[in-house]
């Protein structure tokens, strides 16, 4: 059993929407990171939910920065701290738009240079802060304010793009599995160099789900296999326990789609494409896990 510290690193009354997955994830990220941490936050929901000056939500320093700039800011911060001999964790907490779209150049640069920081993307699959416009991470079929009939192209495979940078540590997670998040952040921060964790974070208003369903929908994503929890430490690729169980008998993705208002315009044909994409990805992941085990 994972022992998670009882001390809360977030103060009360954040100005999130009810049932925010990104804040739930951050609660456990900060418990894992501890007080010797600086958060770097580009434009995203988490730049707004901190509250209004002079109040703050976090008990660690938070540096807000421009939309495209998170990874570069963390690079400078980490280099300066290391030059001073300080080991302070530098953690980026960015949305999917700030990571997969506008921030991807800075992210790629920082990963390639081998900067010592942890980049965490909380993925609510759209530009949530500006009112749910489609992002590169919006999945096929999802309604957003700029895809009123559902997105017609696939979600960008951010993890494969990041993986091409050969990081010492990379993982996926979901806000519905806090112990998994806690353990992954702990492990990531124990490894020098660039680390990346991609967290699926359900968004009740954006996904058009009741606010008490955040955890349940996240679990459905994992159980259907549309979101897979894994980690990669250097070349060792491991499927995490919740997904290992789910992959044995994945729930049809249709149930996940039907539970969310954003997929209400998905017809049978698109649903079949989504299912086929899930099946294909699960096969790829199973193969990668098996190959990684063989080379052990």
């Amino acid at each position: 059993m994972t022992e998670i510290p009882k001390e809360e690193m977030l103060l009360k009354c954040p100005s999130t929407c009810a049932g925010c997955g990104s804040l739930l994830a951050l609660r456990y990220i900060l418990k894992a990171a501890g007080k010797d941490t600086v958060l770097v936050i580009p434009a995203c929901c988490n730049s707004v939910i901190q509250g209004v000056y002079p109040y703050m939500l976090h008990t660690v320093p938070v540096y807000n920065i421009a939309f495209a700039a998170a990874a570069a800011c963390a690079s400078g911060m980490s280099e300066a701290l290391r030059a001073k001999g300080e080991k302070t964790n530098v953690i980026v907490y960015a949305g999917d738009g700030g990571t997969a779209d506008i921030g991807i150049q800075a992210l790629s640069g920082a990963l390639e240079r081998g900067e010592d920081f942890l980049y965490i993307c909380y993925d609510n699959e759209a530009y949530g802060n500006t009112g749910m416009q489609r992002s590169g991470a919006t999945p096929l079929g999802a309604i957003t304010t700029t895809t009123p009939n559902g997105k017609t192209v696939n979600k960008k495979d951010l993890d494969r793009i990041v993986e091409a940078h050969n990081l010492p540590y990379q993982a996926t997670a979901c806000s519905s599995y806090p112990a998994d998040i806690y353990n992954k952040v702990k492990k990531a921060l124990s490894i020098p160099g660039p680390k990346f964790i991609h967290i699926l974070a359900p968004c009740p208003p954006g996904w058009r789900i009741p606010s008490e369903k955040t955890v349940e929908i996240g679990k459905m994503a994992v159980k259907s296999g549309i979101w897979v929890l894994w980690e990669k430490e250097y070349d060792k690729f491991t499927v995490s326990a919740p997904s290992r169980a789910a992959m044995k008998r994945p729930v049809p993705v249709g149930e996940y789609l039907k539970a969310q208002g954003r997929f209400r315009k998905v017809d049978e044909k698109t649903a079949a494409v989504i299912q086929a994409n899930v099946d294909k990805n699960l096969k790829k992941i199973a193969l990668e896990a098996a190959q990684s085990e063989e080379t052990e």
Binding site: V38, Y53, Y63, A69, A72, C73, R82, A83, G109
Partner: protein, 375 residues
């Protein structure tokens, strides 16, 4: 006594940076600035400068990495030019708004299209309103001296705003001149950033600031920009006292008895001195004012009753010369003949400048090289 060495403007800036000992340098190459950051990379590799050199993937990231480093309380430097400066634009506002004393070497170069690598001031002037102090230099020695002074001015707790040292592309960045590589000693005091990040005293930086506080932050910047005039004067006086080279925010050349004054920035402002000599031989009482600090803008130019021939190596389309316009705005009684000259590296000699004076039509704008009937 420091040694006299031959150097380009770029290498002089890099040498000054080595003396100032920043802990982090983040930069991206662009012509004609690249020699600055190559020289710094060499210093770092050789161990002559104990700094982290971050070879970022863009200028946007160069300025951002400087911001991230600076807020930890360390001295930082970057350099850029032209399109690189424009690509930084968003982060220039962030750097100044975050009150970070970042110092940047900026080599003035034309903006495309079409591609053109030669000198023009439109790049830096289009960043006029970002909250950066801007100084324009005219010799290799001045590039070196201004860079040393920039760190002291930016880091002064009465200022805490970033400083941009502007140098004409090729005309100064690549020209070799002898200069004295003065050891600054304790001329630049250690940096003590009052708002640096501290995990034992966690604070939120740049959180949402509504209208009732935001204008106060901005007025605070304006107050610091005003205070920087004093800090610049003090710093330049102290520099003169210690090292024997004196500078003023506006350098004057035979202005006291002048009837007509050429006003320009950068290398044109230096070349104009030769034009004034020439004109005085012809019996025209000419002088030169070379504006060095454009931000903060000089408020004590002694121009009463004199004709000003303001040469702008820039243009604000639909308005005119930026410097001419700024002078007119701050000195409503100023009599100005505006000349747009030197765009895209167009050659402007002292003979040309003398002719601008001889044929000046006060209250008009003249584009050098364009036939009269098309003006």
């Amino acid at each position: 006594m420091s040694e006299l060495i031959m150097s380009t403007g770029n290498k002089a800036v890099a040498a000054a940076v080595k003396m100032a000992k920043p802990l982090v340098v983040a930069a991206y190459p662009i012509t004609p600035q690249t020699e600055i950051i190559e020289s710094i990379a060499d210093y770092v590799e050789a161990g002559d400068l104990k700094a982290r050199y971050i070879p970022v993937e863009s200028e946007h990231s160069a300025m951002t990495a400087c911001i991230g480093a600076s807020i930890t309380g360390v001295r930082v430097f970057t350099a850029t030019s032209s399109h690189g400066l424009l690509y930084m634009h968003e982060m220039l506002h962030w750097a100044a708004g975050a009150r970070l004393p970042i110092v940047m070497g900026q080599v003035n170069r034309t903006l495309a299209p079409g591609w053109n690598i030669w000198a023009e001031h439109t790049d830096a002037l289009s960043q006029r309103d970002t909250g950066w102090l801007q100084v324009y230099v005219s010799t290799v020695q001045e590039a070196y001296d201004a860079t040393l002074m920039a760190f002291r001015i930016a880091e002064d707790n009465r200022v805490l705003l970033p400083v941009m040292i502007n140098m004409d592309g090729f005309l100064l960045s690549h020209i070799m001149q002898p200069f004295e590589m003065t050891e600054p000693g304790d001329f630049i005091p250690p940096l003590d950033l009052p708002h640096k990040i501290d995990v034992n005293d966690p604070k939120g930086y740049g959180a949402m600031s509504p209208a009732n506080v935001h204008y106060q932050f901005r007025f605070d910047m304006e107050k610091s920009m005003r205070a920087s005039r004093t800090v610049i004067n003090e710093t330049e006086a102290e520099f003169a006292k210690r090292f024997g080279r004196s500078y003023a925010p506006v350098e004057e050349y035979f202005c006291d008895d002048a009837d007509v004054i050429i006003v320009a920035m950068g290398t044109l402002g230096k070349e104009a001195e030769v034009a004034a000599d020439l004109l005085r031989k012809e019996g025209i009482k000419a002088g030169v004012m070379r504006i060095r600090w454009l931000r903060p803008f000089p408020l004590d130019m002694n121009i009463k009753g004199k004709d000003l021939v303001v040469i702008d190596r820039d243009c604000s389309f639909g308005f005119g010369g930026v410097v001419a316009g700024e002078i007119q705005a701050r000195y409503p009684d100023a009599k100005i003949a505006s000349v747009i000259a030197g765009l895209g590296g167009q050659e402007v000699t002292y003979e040309d400048m003398a002719e601008f004076v001889r044929s000046r039509k006060m209250g008009t704008e003249f584009w050098f090289g364009i036939p009269q009937e098309e003006q």
